[in-house]
């Protein structure tokens, strides 16, 4: 019996730590710990609610836009503001773009190296790699010379010892099963994905301003200028054409590179359709409103709950049923830590009681995480692309059903295979495929409105705080790329009185609750075989399949022990 510690899971110190008990070559129990205090709630208290999104978007390093969107929605919900149709569409385009971009980056740049042995790519035959590429897709970059050039570049990098991006893999581990040619193909597409993101993210530059943090949100709509006759306006016919072109290219990349690669990699790892299985409880708030956000039936990705793997029934979702425990979290509730609280009654009173670092093991019988434990009707839930696709599938969403069935058909797998590590990866790719198509459609809708002279983009009725009630509270939701995201805001005397965020990774990575029920990560690791406890790539495969995001955090460059020059004050 051995205790494996993976910390940090993302190789960033102080964010996510997994402790796993290994018995007879498999995980017998696991604990997930967020090791970084998240105090955004304390920062927002007392501020103007119209500015909350500017701070909220800094909660997370990469998910900036999802927090901005959720924050303006929470305040709009509190104040009873409906946004104009153009603002709704632009928000869908921005968020849809974010999903596609994020899913591609996740697969190629975070997750692929858990499955792809880069060092084996050096041994690949470029001619056979070309044959493999052409057998799975008609993507044009597939010649023998192309793969030879990629391999030469990789060789040069290895020779120069500047392979820092790839330095973390467990190269040569027996759990890697891809033939050399598939590894080379994946490396080529790793590089192409970098180029893909460079082009595709220009959609955000058009709609959100040049700064990487989008600047155009407003409570009540957007600040993006629309004018059919103004060459300087952000949205004019020329820009619509430009956005359409970018969206079409993204669709082609997802259809011809991302999807075939996921299916090809999955076909070499069939065991992983039976591993990483989770609670069987899936939650989706739904997102991408096609009409008023107050009408859940108009959400493009449906809202709902699946319990106990039962795809025959989708339960309705009610935000009143969301609660959070702190029984095993480093917080105190004023009336005791055994009972869960709804976010409107939520408290953020940090109290660290864990061992003093550096330490060997967490005190898992006591408190062991900076994450709270969210529950729905007192049950742990999984959130993310798999939850969204399953809720859509079970709700009879025809387009999702067709895409899921097509992927399962190629893999010769049943829908129950989706309850797994590979299921999460496949669902993410399928969602990217779905949303890449719909970004194109939303751009067309925006273009049609522009052509018809509908230029309204901001509803300023409730902009003036004198129009607000003395007290108000609101629920803002979005499905971020990595899962259900919600902000709860309470406004009193024109200021924020309380603000609580329940983020996707808290749902998935949270610790046990007062009843001892494990969170999603903790459950999904049970029974995972571990070939080599010193190199637990199997744990990373499942945890990374959730797309963990605990980067709500600090970014100090650690240069201790490095050469540097001190500049004297002049």
């Amino acid at each position: 019996m051995a205790r494996i510690v993976v910390d940090p899971v993302t190789r960033i110190e102080g964010h996510l730590r997994i402790e796993a008990q290994v018995d007879g070559g498999a995980v017998s129990d696991a604990w997930s710990s967020g090791t970084m205090f998240r105090g955004i709630e304390l920062i927002l208290r007392g501020r103007d609610p119209r500015e909350a999104w500017i701070w909220a978007q800094r909660i997370c390093g990469v998910c900036t836009t999802v927090h901005a969107l959720t924050s303006v929605r929470a305040v709009e919900d509190a104040l009873g503001v409906e946004v104009p149709e153009n603002a709704r569409i632009i928000r869908n385009i921005i968020a849809g773009t974010q999903h596609v971009q994020d899913h591609v980056i996740h697969f190629y740049h975070l997750h692929a190296l858990d499955w792809v042995d880069v060092t084996l790519a050096l041994k690949a035959d470029p001619g056979k790699t070309s044959q493999l590429a052409e057998s799975i897709s008609d993507w044009p970059k597939s010649s023998k010379n192309y793969f030879k050039a990629i391999q030469d570049r990789l060789k040069a990098l290895v020779a120069s010892k500047q392979l820092s991006l790839f330095s973390s893999g467990y190269w040569g581990h027996p759990a890697y099963h891809l033939p050399p040619e598939a590894n080379l193909l994946a490396v080529a597409h790793y590089l192409e994905a970098l180029e893909f993101q460079r082009e595709f993210i220009r959609i955000h530059a058009v709609l959100g301003g040049k700064n990487p943090h989008l600047q155009t949100y407003l409570v009540g709509g957007m600040s993006t200028a629309m004018d059919p006759n103004e060459p300087q306006a952000t949205i004019n016919p020329e820009r619509i054409t430009f956005l359409s072109e970018l969206a079409s290219k993204a669709q082609e990349f997802v259809d011809k590179v991302y999807i075939p690669d996921v299916l090809a990699v999955a076909s070499f790892y069939p065991d992983w359709f039976g591993r990483g299985e989770n609670l069987g409880n899936f939650l989706s708030y739904g997102c991408f409103p096609q009409g008023s956000i107050k009408d859940p039936t108009r959400l493009f990705l449906p809202r709902g709950i699946i319990m106990n793997r039962d795809l025959s029934k989708v339960h309705p979702f009610d935000p009143a049923n969301v609660t959070e425990y702190v029984t095993h979290s480093w917080y105190n509730y004023s009336d005791g830590d055994q009972k869960a609280k709804h976010p409107f009654e939520g408290e953020t009173n940090p109290k660290y009681t864990g061992p003093k670092p550096p330490f060997e093991h967490l005190e898992v019988e006591q408190k062991y995480s900076w994450l709270k434990s969210p529950r729905y009707q007192d049950q742990p839930m999984e959130v993310g692309p798999l939850s969204r696709m399953l809720v859509a599938y079970a709700s009879g969403h025809q387009e999702v059903k067709d895409l899921v069935n097509a992927a399962l058909g190629k893999l010769n797998a049943q829908p129950t295979a989706l309850f797994s590590t590979l299921g999460r990866i496949a669902a993410r790719a399928i969602e990217a495929q779905l949303l890449a198509r719909h970004v194109s459609k939303w751009v067309d809708e925006l273009g049609a409105n522009l052509a018809h002279g509908d230029l309204r983009i901001h509803n300023g009725e409730k902009w003036d705080p004198d129009t607000w009630p003395r007290e108000a509270k609101g629920f803002g939701f979005h499905e971020a790329p990595r899962g259900a995201l919600a902000h709860w805001v309470q406004i009193e005397d024109k200021k924020i009185k309380n603000y609580q965020c329940v983020v996707p990774t808290t749902w998935n990575a949270g610790p046990r609750d007062a009843n001892g029920k494990r969170g999603a990560y903790e459950t999904s690791l049970l029974k995972t075989p571990i070939a080599d406890p010193e190199r637990p790539v199997e744990i990373l495969r499942t945890i990374h399949s959730f797309d963990p995001c605990l980067a709500c955090a600090v970014h100090v460059v650690d240069a201790q022990g490095r050469k540097y020059r001190v500049l004297k004050a002049s």
Partner: protein, 165 residues
Amino acid sequence: MSAPRAASTVVLGLGNVIHSDDGAGVHAVQRLKETPDLPQDIDLIEGGTLGLSLLPYLWDAVRIVVLDAVDVGQPPGTIVRLSGDEIRSLRGSVSVHLVGLADLLGALQLVANPTQEITLLGVQPASTEWGTELSQEVQAAIPQLVRAARELLCRWSQPLEQAAG
């Protein structure tokens, strides 16, 4: 403004402004934007903690200045300079969500970016706890950091023969 096409010189401010001194690089780049007489055609980017997502902004950059909080074990507010391989050898990370600076630079190499010069101007933080204000020490050091960045940019903008002399 339609696209994040990188200019040949890019100033990248890194860090999270809700973690007090962690955001020093972003504060500095904001201050630099207000500085008169900056050389033309420089992109000033508030990079936050966006990691690999910043790649498009650096894609074509020939010269890069990174402004960031750097833990070098010096007294808070100390300004330090690292360049070239000193930066590339900093600890990397595989997380795309908080990808290390070294990884961002590694990715630049993979995409055959033409960077010839890269300098990191850093400030030793006092605190990276939650908060939107800089510590007194780091606040006091920001003008020096901005001045150092401006001097570097001016030097880079001179014709080569002058810079050599």
